[in-house]
């Protein structure tokens, strides 16, 4: 058997997922013995042209991280899909939208305005917005345009596997790699690099089980008892509605689970599941009391859907799928179709 | 306290059927009382307020020259007038009779604790005997009577009372807080069981 062809791509994301692969450390040497990395913009010097030149299906496995924010992201997603036998949505961004997709709540115009004008560290007196076409002495420069919505990889192209995590834990990454190397990938469609059940299953904290809180705290407001269930101390912990796999990493650092491993098996909407769990965990004996408790949940939408908004019912309710992939209004110049070619 | 008079106290412990006797033994109380200073006679009886009981007291006052009487029975609010009248009929000043409440304030509330109830009865009798040593004969105060009546409330009860008094020749004021007398009755349609008009 010849060596495997592997590709890694980084679309719109923070880069943490690439780091998670680098974190494999010495395992990378083991990997190099059995696989060739044929494309990894962050680590190797291959160009898009090289990929275009490959035969369709030439790549055995592509680990695609990052969300689909720009026309370039979409373009490469389609390209890699064509060239890959197995396309893996790697990390929370490509799997379910993650933090970037929170910008869908207010929309791209709000995001641009915030980033380009309102951001305190930005000085932009001429109110310049990023342009798709830019005239240079050498000729016109065309930059990838921003799409209306942030999408998951699966919302753009068919995806074979998903690896959750923001970023995926390196031990889980190695498990995925091992499965790829040993050709032990399960049947298509499932999650890779996870454990069964939820974060609570891996959480060592003591749960009394009958305690209902009277208010919630944000993590900076109290120092919780490191041995007791955070929810029972009024910290909004997403553990009950989050897939196991990280080994309760944040909780070990006395911080609540924020839900980056996505919904448990069989659960469609992570935020809705978390909402149900949170509601069960506080005491409210009257309308007024309930409102009082709920007022201590700052930004419920961002809290319950921190990682999964792009993959939620609410996203569907908010967005028009037909508009999602269009170049946003402030950059649209009528030539998008041309670029798409 | 009458000066230089020898105290001759009679103590009468009522059984009140089983009301007292069902919890404590009145004879034991009487026996205890008989040893108290000044007591010349202590008896118990089934119903002290009945004629035989009262007659016994009257007879004893005369026969044994009793000059103080203690009746251990029910509340003064119940039978003090009875026993005052009783001793008065035997020639004793009614204020020389004292009662010990061993029913309402003892056996009726301590049925669960007969021992404690007995001790309490003895103490109450001893206290009444102690008090009666210091009582003096008193004369009732006679006051004049204004021969007029006031009826407060002009409903059916008030009107009925006022009419009866008025018919007896007593001038009666009928005070009504509302504009008209008649009260609730006047508001009613026909009344039961005769179905006649209310006004």
């Amino acid at each position: 058997m010849g060596k495997l062809n592997l590709a890694v791509y980084w679309a719109s994301s923070c880069g943490g997922c690439d780091i998670a692969i680098v974190e494999l450390g010495e395992h990378l040497l083991e990997l190099a013995q059995v696989a060739d990395i044929v494309f990894w913009p962050a680590a190797t010097d291959f160009k898009y042209d090289d990929v275009e030149a490959m035969e369709d299906g030439a790549i055995d496995v592509t680990l695609f991280n990052g969300s689909i924010r720009t026309e370039e992201d979409e373009h490469i997603a389609r390209l890699l899909r064509r060239k890959s036998k197995v396309l893996v949505a790697f990390g929370s961004c490509s799997m379910e939208g993650c933090i970037p997709s929170l910008s869908n709540i207010k929309g791209i115009d709000y995001a641009l305005n915030r980033a380009m004008f309102e951001n305190p560290s930005t000085v932009n007196p001429e109110k310049v917005l990023p342009q798709r076409r830019f005239g240079m002495p050498e000729g016109e420069l065309i930059l990838p345009g921003l799409c209306n919505q942030v999408r998951t990889l699966a919302q753009v192209v068919p995806v074979d596997y998903k690896v959750p995590g923001c970023p995926p834990h390196y031990e889980q990454v190695w498990k995925v790699m091992t499965a790829i190397i040993e050709n032990k990938l399960p049947s298509r469609g499932g999650l890779l690099g996870v454990d069964s059940r939820t974060v609570c299953d891996q959480c060592p904290r003591k749960r009394e089980g009958k305690i209902r809180v009277e208010r919630f705290f944000r993590p900076h407001e109290i120092v919780p008892d490191p041995d007791r269930c955070l929810l029972e101390q009024g910290i909004l912990c997403a553990g009950p509605a989050t897939h196991a796999g990280c080994g309760a990493l944040c909780i070990e650092a006395n911080m609540p689970c924020r839900g980056c491993y996505g919904p448990p098996d069989g659960v469609v909407d992570q935020g809705a599941a978390l909402l149900g769990a949170i509601v069960a965990s506080f005491e409210g004996k009257s309308d007024a009391e309930i409102r009082q408790v709920l007022s201590t949940i700052v930004d419920p939408l961002g809290t319950f859907y921190r990682f999964s908004f792009a993959d939620s019912f609410l996203q569907q309710l908010k967005a028009n799928p037909e508009e999602a992939g269009r170049i946003c209004a402030s950059q649209a110049d009528g030539s998008e179709e041309e670029v798409e070619q | 306290m009458a000066d230089n008079e020898e105290l001759r106290i009679g103590v009468y412990v009522c059984s009140c059927g089983s009301n007292i006797g069902g919890v404590i033994d009145p004879a034991e109380v009487a026996e205890f009382a008989s040893h108290l200073p000044g007591v010349v006679l202590a008896k118990d009886y089934l119903y002290m307020c009945g004629d035989p009981g009262q007659n016994m007291i009257k007879r004893d006052i005369i026969e044994h020259k009793l000059n103080r009487v203690v009746v251990a029975a029910c509340s003064v609010r119940m039978h003090e007038p009875t026993f005052r009248a009783c001793v008065a009929e035997a020639g004793l000043n009614p204020f020389l009779m004292e009662m010990a409440n061993i029913r309402e304030q003892d056996t009726w509330v301590h049925a669960h604790d007969p021992e404690g109830a007995l001790q309490k009865a003895k103490d109450l009798v001893a206290a009444a005997v102690a008090k009666v040593r210091y009582v003096s004969p008193l004369q009732m105060i006679t006051v004049p009577v204004t021969k007029k009546a006031l009826v407060i409330g002009g409903g059916v009860a008030g009107i009925s009372a006022a009419l009866d008094l008025a018919d007896m020749g007593i001038h009666t004021y009928l005070v009504e807080k509302d504009l008209s007398i008649g009260g609730t009755m006047a508001q009613l349609n026909k009344t039961f069981p005769t179905m006649d008009c209310s006004i």
């Binding site: - | 509330v109 103490d123 001893a126 008193l138 006051v143 008030g158 009372a161 007896m168 009344t191 069981p193």
Partner: protein
């Protein structure tokens, strides 16, 4: 009504209230406030011209507020006296009535409340009852659904002199209902509201049902009841008539009434107890047979007349069986529903009974009253020595004590009611009270605490309230621990601080002083005098080194048997928690200081021997001899 108005010996003071009562049996002085009618009684001839021109309509409480009357009007045509009155809160002062009255000139806007004083020998309280407001039972929807009315409203609706001239109609649409449900025991027999049975509701409901049946033979009438109570002569026969007439009776207490918002019909849900099934009854109207409750001013009048009230709030009789129309105040009698819910025959009978009880006094020339009055030891009174004092006079609620410098205080026997407050207040023990002398009381303290005093609670009770409360605990058989020992005095005002100290000197485990609630005090301000005195006792005890928790003050009415039992139980529990050795030690330590405080007894007649045990023995001998 008319008989009363015509009787030469009856003087009706309508629209008037009793505001003050002084005196005693045979000799009451009563202040009555005549509220202004703004119509001169003597001039008004009841023609009604004024009402005809009056432009203002106000709710008529006689019609249960379901119909209006004019701002100048009579409550109803047969009013006695037939004198008009102006509802001044609603009058717009257009003076059309003045014009209409014309030459009679009976209208007088300048009227003010007028106070008259009456001297009477006896008083009969016949203030009646009120009906319970069913709006406090949300599940019955009174005040929410227009077609849920009270039985009193039904009385007015079906009364031919009422606002609809006897035509029974639904408030929602003015139509005669085809069906009606009558619900019994609304507020009565309900421990949330009135524990008692109001007694006459069964009968008036049956009466209303029969009347409706006669007038509207097709009306579907249902009576929902828990028990039908017909314990009067001819009453059960009356009930049989209703059964025979086809009135439907369902045994069961409805759980709720709901309304169809469109038709305003009502759904009454009730479990038919015989069937064990829930029936949902759709009716066009519901009548609630509401409880009879004490008049709103019962409390005010009870303090004016020094009457007590039963737990139900009605006036309390002297004795429920033997003296049912006597009040605890001599010369004051009770009649009718003021004493408890009663139907008309019973009220009439009680009116006659009260009249005859009152006549016992009123037909006599003189009356004998108890000689339990205060008495001064002139040689002990410092006023006689020319010193300024007068504390006794200040304590007397009846102005029965005259203090003149150089003279001993003087008690006016006829004015003295015998509360004993002066005797307790006198700082020189120069006053005592007949039949409740210091020696009589202290002798009782000694006997009651002769054995195991530290195990005992010594209780001082006032004759009218807390002694009655203790009796009432007895009649109700409320059990409590047997270690309390009571001493009765007439009023808490008689409970001298020296008696409390003496009790502790004798080693009493605990001491309770108890009396009437302030508004119930039989001697006007006796309780206040006592309360002020008792408020100082804890500090005194503290200074003497006695734990003030061993002393308690409670105001217990004659009706509060439960409270009496509870207080003794609580005190007994507390006493049990104290270490008895420590109690005895406390007594020993405090004894010299207490004796120092009691040394005045060496001067007071009969009292010296109580201070020293040996001398006690001697006096015993002396008494024996």
């Amino acid at each position: 009504m008319v008989d009363a108005a015509r009787h030469p010996n009856i003087e009706i003071l309508a629209y008037s209230e009793v505001t003050k009562v002084d005196g005693y049996i045979g000799n009451f002085r009563v202040e009555v406030m005549k509220k202004p009618r703004y119509v001169i009684e003597d001039r008004c001839n009841g023609c009604g011209e004024c009402a005809r021109v009056c432009p203002i309509e106000v709710p008529n409480s006689f019609e249960m507020d379901i119909a209006p009357r004019k701002a100048i009007d009579v409550p109803h045509d047969q009013a006695v006296p037939l004198v008009y009155a102006i509802d001044i809160d609603h009058c717009i002062r257009c003076y059309k009535c003045v014009e209409a009255c014309g030459k009679l000139d009976a209208i007088d806007f300048s009227q003010e409340p007028e106070f008259v004083e009456l001297d009477v020998g006896s008083i009969i309280v016949a203030t009646g009852f009120e009906t319970f407001d069913p709006a406090v039972i949300p599940e019955y929807g009174y005040g929410v659904y227009p077609n849920v009315i009270t039985a009193m409203e039904l009385e007015r609706l079906s009364n031919s002199s009422g606002p609809t001239v006897g035509r029974v109609v639904r408030p929602s649409d003015g139509k005669t209902p085809k069906s009606i449900a009558m619900i019994q025991c609304v507020g009565s027999r309900d421990s949330r509201f009135m524990e008692y049975c109001s007694g006459f509701c069964c009968m008036y409901t049956i009466k209303n049902a029969l009347l409706l049946h006669q007038t509207y033979p097709d009306m579907d009438i249902t009576i929902l009841y828990m028990d039908i109570r017909t314990p009067g002569k001819g009453y059960e026969e009356f009930y049989n008539r209703a059964r025979a007439a086809g009135i439907r009776f369902i045994r069961g207490r409805p759980s709720q009434i709901t309304e169809d918002p469109e038709t305003h019909n009502l759904f009454v849900e009730v479990e038919d107890q015989e069937l064990g099934e829930v029936i949902e009854l759709e009716v066009e109207m519901v009548s609630l047979s509401t409880a009879a409750i004490p008049q709103a001013d019962t409390e005010r009048l009870s303090s004016v007349l020094a009457l007590s009230r039963s737990p139900s709030g009605f006036y309390m009789e002297y004795h429920p069986k033997l003296r049912p129309v006597d009040s605890p105040s001599d010369g004051v009698f009770l009649a009718g529903a003021a004493q408890g819910p009663k139907d008309i025959p019973a009220s009439v009978a009680q009116g006659s009974a009260a009249a005859s009880r009152a006549a016992r006094v009123l037909t006599s020339d003189t009356w004998e009253i108890e000689p339990i009055v205060a008495k001064v030891w002139p040689e002990l009174c410092i006023s006689a020595q020319g010193k300024k004092c007068g504390i006794c006079a200040q304590a007397c609620p009846y102005n029965a004590i005259i203090v003149e410098p150089g003279q001993p205080a003087q008690i006016i026997q006829a004015k003295c009611h015998g509360c004993g407050g002066c005797a307790a207040e006198c700082p020189h023990d120069a006053i005592t009270q007949d039949h409740f002398t210091d020696a009589q009381i202290v002798a009782q303290i000694r006997e009651l605490l002769r054995e195991n005093p530290e195990e005992k609670i010594l209780v001082f009770m006032c004759h009218w309230c807390s002694y009655g409360g203790a009796d009432s605990a007895g009649t109700s058989h409320f059990e409590y621990p047997s270690n309390s020992r009571g001493i009765r005095v007439m009023c808490s005002a008689r409970m001298d601080q020296e008696f409390i100290l003496e009790a502790f000197r004798r080693g009493a485990g605990m001491v309770l002083v108890s009396g009437c609630h302030p508004q119930d005090c039989h001697y006007i301000t006796g309780q206040q005098v006592a309360a002020k005195r008792f408020s100082r006792v804890p500090r005194t005890l503290e200074r003497l080194g006695i734990n003030p928790e061993r002393f308690r003050v409670e105001w217990i009415s004659a009706a509060e048997g439960e409270k009496y039992a509870r207080v003794i139980t609580e005190m007994s529990e507390k006493l049990a928690s104290f270490d008895k050795e420590e109690l005895r030690a406390e007594t020993e330590r405090a004894r010299p200081a207490i004796e120092k405080r009691l040394r005045r007894w060496m001067m007071t007649p009969h009292m010296a021997p109580f201070l020293k045990d040996e001398e006690e023995q001697e006096v015993e001998k002396e008494v024996m001899a």
